[in-house]
Protein backbone atom coordinates (compact mmCIF):
# COMPACT_ATOMS: atom_id res chain seq x y z
CA UNK A 1 0.00 0.00 0.00
CA UNK A 2 1.41 3.41 -0.87
CA UNK A 3 1.84 6.23 1.67
CA UNK A 4 -0.68 8.31 -0.15
CA UNK A 5 -3.41 5.71 0.24
CA UNK A 6 -2.56 5.15 3.95
CA UNK A 7 -2.87 8.88 4.62
CA UNK A 8 -6.27 8.90 3.01
CA UNK A 9 -7.65 6.00 5.13
CA UNK A 10 -6.24 6.74 8.60
CA UNK A 11 -8.29 9.85 9.49
CA UNK A 12 -11.50 7.75 9.41
CA UNK A 13 -10.63 6.33 12.90
CA UNK A 14 -10.25 9.81 14.48
CA UNK A 15 -13.31 11.68 15.89
CA UNK A 16 -14.52 14.03 13.20
CA UNK A 17 -14.90 17.14 15.39
CA UNK A 18 -11.16 17.25 16.11
CA UNK A 19 -9.81 16.25 12.75
CA UNK A 20 -9.25 18.97 10.18
CA UNK A 21 -8.79 16.39 7.47
CA UNK A 22 -12.38 15.15 7.90
CA UNK A 23 -13.61 17.65 5.36
CA UNK A 24 -11.80 15.65 2.78
CA UNK A 25 -13.80 12.54 3.55
CA UNK A 26 -16.63 11.77 1.25
CA UNK A 27 -20.24 11.68 2.45
CA UNK A 28 -20.31 7.90 2.80
CA UNK A 29 -17.40 7.75 5.24
CA UNK A 30 -18.88 10.54 7.35
CA UNK A 31 -22.22 8.74 7.61
CA UNK A 32 -20.40 5.57 8.69
CA UNK A 33 -18.60 7.48 11.44
CA UNK A 34 -21.83 8.96 12.73
CA UNK A 35 -23.43 5.51 12.85
CA UNK A 36 -20.54 4.14 14.86
CA UNK A 37 -20.82 6.97 17.37
CA UNK A 38 -24.55 6.47 17.73
CA UNK A 39 -24.15 2.75 18.42
CA UNK A 40 -21.44 3.48 21.00
CA UNK A 41 -23.80 5.90 22.74
CA UNK A 42 -26.55 3.26 22.73
CA UNK A 43 -24.24 0.78 24.43
CA UNK A 44 -23.28 3.35 27.05
CA UNK A 45 -26.96 4.09 27.71
CA UNK A 46 -27.75 0.39 28.15
CA UNK A 47 -25.05 -0.03 30.77
CA UNK A 48 -26.37 2.90 32.76
CA UNK A 49 -29.52 1.10 33.86
CA UNK A 50 -30.10 2.04 37.47
CA UNK A 51 -32.48 0.83 40.15
CA UNK A 52 -35.32 3.06 39.03
CA UNK A 53 -34.94 1.86 35.45
CA UNK A 54 -35.11 -1.77 36.56
CA UNK A 55 -38.35 -1.06 38.40
CA UNK A 56 -39.81 0.80 35.42
CA UNK A 57 -38.80 -2.00 33.08
CA UNK A 58 -40.34 -4.64 35.31
CA UNK A 59 -43.61 -2.79 35.72
CA UNK A 60 -44.00 -2.11 32.04
CA UNK A 61 -42.99 -5.62 31.01
CA UNK A 62 -45.24 -7.36 33.52
CA UNK A 63 -48.23 -5.08 33.12
CA UNK A 64 -51.18 -6.98 31.67
CA UNK A 65 -51.79 -6.10 28.04
CA UNK A 66 -54.59 -3.64 27.40
CA UNK A 67 -57.92 -5.42 27.17
CA UNK A 68 -56.60 -8.54 28.88
CA UNK A 69 -59.18 -10.00 31.25
CA UNK A 70 -58.33 -12.06 34.30
CA UNK A 71 -60.24 -15.32 34.33
CA UNK A 72 -63.29 -15.79 36.53
CA UNK A 73 -62.13 -18.18 39.19
CA UNK A 74 -65.23 -18.46 41.36
CA UNK A 75 -66.97 -21.31 39.58
CA UNK A 76 -63.79 -23.36 39.36
CA UNK A 77 -63.02 -22.81 43.04
CA UNK A 78 -66.58 -23.77 44.06
CA UNK A 79 -66.40 -26.91 41.93
CA UNK A 80 -63.13 -27.98 43.56
CA UNK A 81 -64.41 -27.35 47.08
CA UNK A 82 -67.66 -29.20 46.32
CA UNK A 83 -65.74 -32.19 44.99
CA UNK A 84 -63.19 -32.32 47.78
CA UNK A 85 -65.74 -31.82 50.55
CA UNK A 86 -67.90 -34.51 48.89
CA UNK A 87 -70.79 -32.12 48.56
CA UNK A 88 -70.64 -30.70 52.08
CA UNK A 89 -69.93 -27.20 50.76
CA UNK A 90 -71.45 -25.63 47.66
CA UNK A 91 -73.49 -28.77 47.29
CA UNK A 92 -77.02 -27.36 47.20
CA UNK A 93 -76.74 -25.59 43.88
CA UNK A 94 -77.93 -22.31 45.40
CA UNK A 95 -74.87 -21.07 47.17
CA UNK A 96 -72.80 -21.38 44.01
CA UNK A 97 -74.42 -18.20 42.71
CA UNK A 98 -72.41 -15.00 42.98
CA UNK A 99 -74.95 -13.25 45.20
CA UNK A 100 -76.80 -15.98 47.09
CA UNK A 101 -78.09 -13.56 49.73
CA UNK A 102 -80.24 -11.69 47.22
CA UNK A 103 -81.25 -14.96 45.59
CA UNK A 104 -82.48 -16.33 48.90
CA UNK A 105 -84.34 -13.09 49.65
CA UNK A 106 -86.13 -12.93 46.32
CA UNK A 107 -87.01 -16.61 46.47
CA UNK A 108 -88.41 -16.25 50.00
CA UNK A 109 -90.59 -13.30 49.00
CA UNK A 110 -91.92 -15.11 45.95
CA UNK A 111 -92.76 -18.17 48.02
CA UNK A 112 -94.58 -16.06 50.62
CA UNK A 113 -96.63 -14.39 47.89
CA UNK A 114 -97.50 -17.74 46.39
CA UNK A 115 -98.58 -19.19 49.74
CA UNK A 116 -100.67 -16.10 50.42
CA UNK A 117 -102.33 -16.35 47.02
CA UNK A 118 -103.14 -20.01 47.52
CA UNK A 119 -104.48 -19.42 51.02
CA UNK A 120 -106.79 -16.50 50.20
CA UNK A 121 -108.07 -17.47 46.77
CA UNK A 122 -107.80 -21.13 46.01
CA UNK A 123 -108.31 -22.96 49.31
CA UNK A 124 -112.07 -23.11 50.14
CA UNK A 125 -111.49 -22.82 53.91
CA UNK A 126 -108.97 -19.97 53.46
CA UNK A 127 -109.62 -16.24 54.09
CA UNK A 128 -112.03 -15.94 51.15
CA UNK A 129 -114.15 -18.92 52.28
CA UNK A 130 -114.44 -17.65 55.91
CA UNK A 131 -115.94 -14.25 54.90
CA UNK A 132 -118.78 -15.78 52.85
CA UNK A 133 -122.04 -16.29 54.82
Amino acid sequence: MSDEKREHKEPARVPHDRDPELDELDEEARALLEKEEESALEEEGASALDEVDVRELLRSALAPPKGAVAPELLQGVQRRIRTRSRGKFYGDGWSTAKSPRSTYLVTSLLMLLLIGFVFFVLVPWGGGALTTP
Binding site: R59, P71, V77, S95, S99
Partner: protein
Protein backbone atom coordinates in the same frame (compact mmCIF):
# COMPACT_ATOMS: atom_id res chain seq x y z
CA UNK B 1 -58.47 -1.56 66.54
CA UNK B 2 -59.46 0.54 63.51
CA UNK B 3 -62.81 0.17 61.81
CA UNK B 4 -61.10 -1.46 58.84
CA UNK B 5 -59.52 -4.07 61.09
CA UNK B 6 -62.84 -4.67 62.83
CA UNK B 7 -64.52 -5.16 59.49
CA UNK B 8 -61.84 -7.62 58.43
CA UNK B 9 -62.15 -9.49 61.74
CA UNK B 10 -65.90 -9.84 61.19
CA UNK B 11 -65.31 -11.02 57.65
CA UNK B 12 -62.75 -13.60 58.82
CA UNK B 13 -65.22 -14.81 61.45
CA UNK B 14 -67.73 -15.46 58.67
CA UNK B 15 -65.07 -17.32 56.71
CA UNK B 16 -64.14 -19.42 59.73
CA UNK B 17 -67.83 -20.29 60.12
CA UNK B 18 -67.63 -21.53 56.51
CA UNK B 19 -70.11 -18.94 55.28
CA UNK B 20 -70.19 -19.70 51.57
CA UNK B 21 -71.36 -16.23 50.58
CA UNK B 22 -68.45 -14.69 52.50
CA UNK B 23 -66.09 -16.99 50.68
CA UNK B 24 -67.64 -15.99 47.35
CA UNK B 25 -66.94 -12.36 48.26
CA UNK B 26 -63.36 -13.26 49.11
CA UNK B 27 -62.77 -14.94 45.76
CA UNK B 28 -64.34 -12.10 43.80
CA UNK B 29 -62.34 -9.51 45.76
CA UNK B 30 -58.93 -11.17 45.47
CA UNK B 31 -59.09 -13.20 42.27
CA UNK B 32 -57.52 -10.54 40.03
CA UNK B 33 -54.63 -9.82 42.38
CA UNK B 34 -53.93 -13.47 43.11
CA UNK B 35 -54.09 -14.43 39.44
CA UNK B 36 -51.81 -11.52 38.47
CA UNK B 37 -49.23 -12.48 41.09
CA UNK B 38 -49.29 -16.15 40.20
CA UNK B 39 -49.09 -15.43 36.48
CA UNK B 40 -46.07 -13.18 37.02
CA UNK B 41 -44.40 -15.86 39.09
CA UNK B 42 -45.09 -18.76 36.74
CA UNK B 43 -45.29 -17.00 33.39
CA UNK B 44 -47.85 -19.46 32.07
CA UNK B 45 -51.52 -18.62 31.87
CA UNK B 46 -52.93 -22.14 32.10
CA UNK B 47 -50.77 -23.01 35.10
CA UNK B 48 -51.56 -19.65 36.70
CA UNK B 49 -55.31 -20.13 36.37
CA UNK B 50 -55.12 -23.60 37.88
CA UNK B 51 -52.87 -22.48 40.71
CA UNK B 52 -54.92 -19.37 41.51
CA UNK B 53 -57.96 -21.59 42.01
CA UNK B 54 -55.89 -23.87 44.22
CA UNK B 55 -54.87 -20.85 46.33
CA UNK B 56 -58.50 -20.17 47.19
CA UNK B 57 -59.19 -23.82 47.94
CA UNK B 58 -56.25 -23.76 50.38
CA UNK B 59 -57.56 -20.54 51.92
CA UNK B 60 -60.95 -22.20 52.43
CA UNK B 61 -59.33 -25.23 54.05
CA UNK B 62 -56.87 -23.38 56.24
CA UNK B 63 -58.84 -20.29 57.28
CA UNK B 64 -59.03 -21.69 60.84
CA UNK B 65 -55.26 -21.24 61.07
CA UNK B 66 -55.41 -17.52 60.26
CA UNK B 67 -54.62 -15.83 63.56
CA UNK B 68 -54.96 -12.24 62.41
CA UNK B 69 -51.29 -11.38 63.07
CA UNK B 70 -51.04 -10.03 59.55
CA UNK B 71 -53.56 -8.69 57.08
CA UNK B 72 -55.79 -11.23 55.38
CA UNK B 73 -54.38 -10.20 52.00
CA UNK B 74 -50.82 -10.84 53.21
CA UNK B 75 -51.82 -14.28 54.44
CA UNK B 76 -53.44 -15.10 51.08
CA UNK B 77 -50.31 -13.87 49.29
CA UNK B 78 -48.19 -16.15 51.47
CA UNK B 79 -50.27 -19.15 50.44
CA UNK B 80 -50.00 -18.07 46.80
CA UNK B 81 -46.22 -17.65 46.99
CA UNK B 82 -45.73 -21.02 48.70
CA UNK B 83 -47.88 -22.79 46.14
CA UNK B 84 -45.97 -21.03 43.36
CA UNK B 85 -42.68 -22.28 44.81
CA UNK B 86 -43.96 -25.83 44.91
CA UNK B 87 -45.38 -25.62 41.42
CA UNK B 88 -42.16 -24.13 40.04
CA UNK B 89 -40.17 -27.00 41.57
CA UNK B 90 -42.62 -29.50 40.15
CA UNK B 91 -42.51 -27.93 36.70
CA UNK B 92 -38.73 -27.70 36.69
CA UNK B 93 -38.56 -31.39 37.59
CA UNK B 94 -40.73 -32.11 34.60
CA UNK B 95 -38.64 -29.76 32.44
CA UNK B 96 -41.78 -27.92 31.65
CA UNK B 97 -41.09 -24.38 32.79
CA UNK B 98 -39.80 -23.17 29.48
CA UNK B 99 -41.85 -19.99 29.71
CA UNK B 100 -43.48 -20.69 26.38
CA UNK B 101 -46.52 -18.62 27.10
CA UNK B 102 -44.60 -15.54 28.18
CA UNK B 103 -42.60 -15.61 24.98
CA UNK B 104 -45.63 -16.42 22.89
CA UNK B 105 -47.64 -13.69 24.59
CA UNK B 106 -44.87 -11.19 23.96
CA UNK B 107 -44.72 -12.22 20.31
CA UNK B 108 -48.48 -12.12 19.90
CA UNK B 109 -48.97 -8.69 21.47
CA UNK B 110 -50.23 -6.10 19.03
CA UNK B 111 -48.11 -3.01 18.50
CA UNK B 112 -50.83 -0.94 20.16
CA UNK B 113 -50.00 -2.77 23.39
CA UNK B 114 -46.53 -1.33 23.29
CA UNK B 115 -47.78 2.16 24.03
CA UNK B 116 -46.33 3.30 27.32
CA UNK B 117 -43.91 0.40 27.37
CA UNK B 118 -40.85 2.54 27.74
CA UNK B 119 -40.44 5.62 29.86
CA UNK B 120 -41.76 8.67 28.06
CA UNK B 121 -44.21 8.94 25.20
CA UNK B 122 -43.77 6.78 22.13
CA UNK B 123 -45.03 8.22 18.91
CA UNK B 124 -42.80 6.96 16.10
CA UNK B 125 -43.14 3.44 14.64
CA UNK B 126 -39.43 2.65 15.13
CA UNK B 127 -39.76 3.64 18.81
CA UNK B 128 -42.80 1.38 19.13
CA UNK B 129 -40.80 -1.56 17.84
CA UNK B 130 -37.90 -0.75 20.16
CA UNK B 131 -40.35 -0.64 23.08
CA UNK B 132 -41.71 -4.05 22.14
CA UNK B 133 -38.19 -5.50 21.86
CA UNK B 134 -37.26 -4.15 25.27
CA UNK B 135 -40.42 -5.65 26.76
CA UNK B 136 -39.61 -9.05 25.30
CA UNK B 137 -36.02 -8.81 26.52
CA UNK B 138 -37.17 -7.98 30.07
CA UNK B 139 -39.72 -10.82 30.09
CA UNK B 140 -37.09 -13.32 29.01
CA UNK B 141 -34.66 -11.95 31.59
CA UNK B 142 -37.23 -12.34 34.37
CA UNK B 143 -37.80 -15.92 33.32
CA UNK B 144 -34.07 -16.58 33.62
CA UNK B 145 -33.67 -15.16 37.13
CA UNK B 146 -33.48 -17.70 39.95
CA UNK B 147 -36.98 -18.33 41.39
CA UNK B 148 -36.22 -17.10 44.93
CA UNK B 149 -34.91 -13.82 43.50
CA UNK B 150 -37.76 -13.45 41.01
CA UNK B 151 -40.27 -13.90 43.82
CA UNK B 152 -39.00 -11.01 45.98
CA UNK B 153 -38.39 -8.77 42.99
CA UNK B 154 -41.97 -9.14 41.78
CA UNK B 155 -43.39 -8.62 45.26
CA UNK B 156 -41.33 -5.46 45.73
CA UNK B 157 -41.19 -3.81 42.33
CA UNK B 158 -44.45 -4.93 40.76
CA UNK B 159 -46.77 -5.61 43.69
CA UNK B 160 -45.38 -2.61 45.61
CA UNK B 161 -45.09 -4.45 48.90
CA UNK B 162 -43.00 -3.11 51.77
CA UNK B 163 -39.95 -5.04 53.00
CA UNK B 164 -41.90 -6.06 56.11
CA UNK B 165 -44.82 -7.38 54.07
CA UNK B 166 -42.44 -9.34 51.83
CA UNK B 167 -40.76 -10.78 54.92
CA UNK B 168 -44.19 -11.88 56.21
CA UNK B 169 -45.20 -13.37 52.88
CA UNK B 170 -41.96 -15.22 52.23
CA UNK B 171 -41.05 -16.05 55.82
CA UNK B 172 -37.58 -14.55 55.31
CA UNK B 173 -35.71 -12.15 57.57
CA UNK B 174 -35.81 -8.45 56.61
CA UNK B 175 -32.10 -8.42 55.82
CA UNK B 176 -32.41 -11.45 53.57
CA UNK B 177 -35.31 -9.83 51.72
CA UNK B 178 -33.27 -6.68 51.09
CA UNK B 179 -30.19 -8.54 49.92
CA UNK B 180 -32.24 -10.80 47.64
CA UNK B 181 -33.97 -7.80 46.08
CA UNK B 182 -30.61 -6.15 45.51
CA UNK B 183 -29.15 -9.28 43.92
CA UNK B 184 -32.28 -9.87 41.86
CA UNK B 185 -32.09 -6.35 40.42
CA UNK B 186 -28.41 -6.86 39.64
CA UNK B 187 -29.17 -10.17 37.90
CA UNK B 188 -32.00 -8.64 35.89
CA UNK B 189 -29.91 -5.62 34.97
CA UNK B 190 -27.04 -7.81 33.81
CA UNK B 191 -29.33 -10.02 31.75
CA UNK B 192 -31.09 -7.06 30.12
CA UNK B 193 -27.82 -5.31 29.38
CA UNK B 194 -26.37 -8.47 27.90
CA UNK B 195 -29.43 -9.02 25.71
CA UNK B 196 -29.56 -5.39 24.62
CA UNK B 197 -25.84 -5.44 23.84
CA UNK B 198 -26.36 -8.51 21.68
CA UNK B 199 -29.27 -6.83 19.95
CA UNK B 200 -27.23 -3.70 19.22
CA UNK B 201 -24.35 -5.82 17.90
CA UNK B 202 -26.64 -8.01 15.79
CA UNK B 203 -28.42 -4.97 14.31
CA UNK B 204 -25.03 -3.47 13.49
CA UNK B 205 -23.98 -6.69 11.83
CA UNK B 206 -27.22 -6.81 9.85
CA UNK B 207 -26.92 -3.30 8.49
CA UNK B 208 -23.92 -3.76 6.14
CA UNK B 209 -25.45 -6.99 4.82
CA UNK B 210 -28.67 -5.20 4.02
CA UNK B 211 -26.80 -2.35 2.43
CA UNK B 212 -24.79 -4.79 0.32
CA UNK B 213 -27.95 -6.55 -0.83
CA UNK B 214 -29.57 -3.25 -1.76
CA UNK B 215 -26.43 -2.31 -3.69
CA UNK B 216 -25.40 0.71 -1.58
Amino acid sequence: MSSEEQEEARFVARLVARDESAFNELVVTYQRRVFALVFRMLGRRDEAEDLAQEVFVQVFKAIDQFRGDSKLSTWIYRIAVNLCKNRTKYLSRRHANDQDDVDAMADRLPFSAAKGVSVGGISRPDELVEGMQLEVVVKRAIAQIEPEFREVLILRDVEDMSYEEIAEVTGLADGTVKSRIHRARAQLRALVEKAMGEKVRSSQADKPAVEKRSGK
